[in-house]
Amino acid sequence: MPMTSREYAWKRRPGWWLRNRRYLMFQLREAGGVICALYGLVLLNMLVQLRAGESAYTAFLDLLRTPPVLYLNVVLFALVVWHALTWFMLIGKAQPIQFTRQPLPWKVVFGINVLLWLGVSGAVVYLIFGGI
């Protein structure tokens, strides 16, 4: 049996996720998930404010309209989009969709999912605002 005592054990470097762009994007996606969950608490708080009365609710909405919060929204939206796109890229690979002998290429499945997503988002926007 090999003598393992003289092996040099490997240790992960603390900044490993800065080693390449893909690791960084992965960390962003994961961190983005946590931040989005936290933002969910903000929205829950909206219900609490609504119950507290109109002035509290209006004050809260005004706060949401301030530039820092709007910028934060843009960043969070980008993270959600990135998160969604990475999963759309995966669908065609993880569960090949087969109509003919050859399964659909993952890029086609990705495209279909993006189109569906845009369609559903459009429908939601239409339902809520009655047009864009």
Partner: protein, 449 residues
């Protein structure tokens, strides 16, 4: 009757991985990964196992066994330019040879005509099978001069020889790795290349930086396979009881003087099974494990030879890389595709001198753990034995047959040489002997195309 089976263009790859993965099913199979066998244990006229160096632990161990099968592949690395991997150093052949087992038909070395210069990566026959042309620097399909009836679909030995003749006639391209010919697939078109021979395109793009759809593939002949090897019968048995050999290491003589494409894989499947069954049967019949005394003695001897002897030598003028390259170039030049008496005599003499010079090869790495300089020295030791057997076998066969082409004896001579060469190791040059060829259904006839 089909001669072989296929798994796309990666037959050997899939056999290898399926065998390895399926071996995991059996917990009675104990693999010794990265153990380097230095010697066979011979006890009372039978093989009783091996002495091996555990590379990771840096120790020498004796592994006893009732039956031992050598399956170490070929010896392509005795040549400078080969399609074989770095580890194909003829270890199994040399181990058996040193234990008194003869090496059969070692002069029968196959050269594949289409290898990438520099790396020796093989471009499969399918490239020509699908309609690829071989051209010289004038753009001429030169095979019309040598084999008009078959052109590019001729056998490997004739194509390889034609390449050398074109090179000698000054009609070859010249590149950073010497002379080469062109393999032209451009007329096949992108569709056919991508569908039928995708691996060819992948390899050429990745390892030559060229696209065969638009460019000529540079090719030259390279050592590919050795028909000879450890002399065995159809069950893989050698002359040493308990010792078996199989695959390219062995010479069952199904490949004669010139192997057909894919037969090496069929050989592994058919004779691998036969050899395994024979060895298992032999081990079952043997009452007890071999006595330990011979193993202990062999272990002590190998520890002294390798650790005290080879590893103890200080690095000096003679280096393992230097001597290895010298041997490889000599084999390429004098014991290559074309052979003749004076070059072979010169090679036999030079190799004998290299054998002596080997004793002066010293090492810079003195570690016992994973010392790849030490394994390289031991491999060179094996390769010198194998190279000597090839050169002497070739010198003694004064005719041309199959892959063995003598410019001084261009004709086949069945009257004198319809027989197998056997090379036996001695302290001096190998002793060459012959045994008759068993002719069954097919009578030997002249080779005509």
């Amino acid at each position: 009757m089909k001669r072989t089976v296929y798994a796309a263009d990666k037959v050997g790859f899939h056999i290898l991985h399926t065998l390895f993965q399926t071996s995991m099913k059996y917990d009675r199979i104990h693999r010794f990964d990265e153990y380097f066998v230095t010697s066979l244990i011979v006890d009372g006229g039978a093989c009783a196992g091996v002495v091996a160096m555990n590379l990771r632990g840096g120790t020498m161990v004796a592994i006893q066994g009732k039956a031992t099968i050598l399956a170490t592949g070929g010896c392509g690395r005795v040549y400078e330019f080969t399609t074989n991997g770095f580890i194909k150093t003829g270890d199994g052949m040399a181990l058996a040879y040193r234990a008194g087992v003869p090496l059969k038909d070692m002069e029968m070395v196959q050269f594949h005509p289409t290898c990438l210069p520099g790396t020796g990566i093989l471009i499969t026959e399918a490239a020509r099978g699908e309609g690829g042309y071989l051209v010289n620097k004038d753009g001429e399909r030169y095979m019309q001069r040598y084999l008009p009836s078959k052109m590019e679909l001729g056998p490997r030995d004739i194509l390889s020889r034609a390449m050398i003749q074109e090179m000698k006639a000054g009609r070859a391209f010249e590149g950073p790795y010497g002379l080469y010919m062109g393999l032209d697939l451009r007329h096949l078109g992108a569709k056919k290349i991508n569908e039928r021979i995708p691996m060819v395109r992948e390899l050429v793009e990745k390892y030559m930086g060229l696209d065969p759809i638009h460019e000529l593939i540079p090719v030259r002949p390279g050592q590919h396979y050795i028909m000879g090897g450890v002399s065995t019968n159809g069950k893989g048995e050698t002359t040493l009881p308990g010792l078996y050999a199989v695959g390219e290491t062995a010479c069952v003589s199904i490949n004669g003087a010139n192997r057909l494409g894919s037969n090496s894989l069929s050989e592994c499947l058919v004779f691998g099974a036969a050899c395994g069954l024979a060895a298992a049967g032999f081990a079952k019949k043997k009452a007890s494990y071999p006595r330990g005394a011979a193993a202990r003695e062999a272990l002590k001897k190998e520890e002294a030879r390798v650790f005290d002897g080879v590893l103890g030598r200080e690095r000096a003028k003679e280096t393992v890389a230097g001597l290895r390259v010298e041997m490889q170039q000599l084999m390429e030049r004098d014991v290559g595709i074309f052979r003749e008496e004076s070059a072979l005599a010169d090679a036999c003499g030079m190799l004998g001198k290299m054998r002596d010079r080997f004793a002066a090869v010293g090492l810079a790495d003195k570690d016992r753990v994973f010392n790849t300089e030490l394994t390289a020295v031991l491999e060179l030791d094996f390769m010198l034995d194998v190279a000597l057997a090839i050169a002497h076998s070739a010198r003694n066969r004064r005719e041309s047959r199959g892959a063995h082409s003598r410019t001084d004896f261009p004709q086949r001579d069945d009257a004198n040489y319809l027989k197998h060469t056997l090379a036996f190791r001695t302290d001096g040059p190998p002793r060459i002997d012959y045994v008759p060829v068993t002719v069954t259904k097919w009578q030997p006839v002249e080779r005509k195309y």
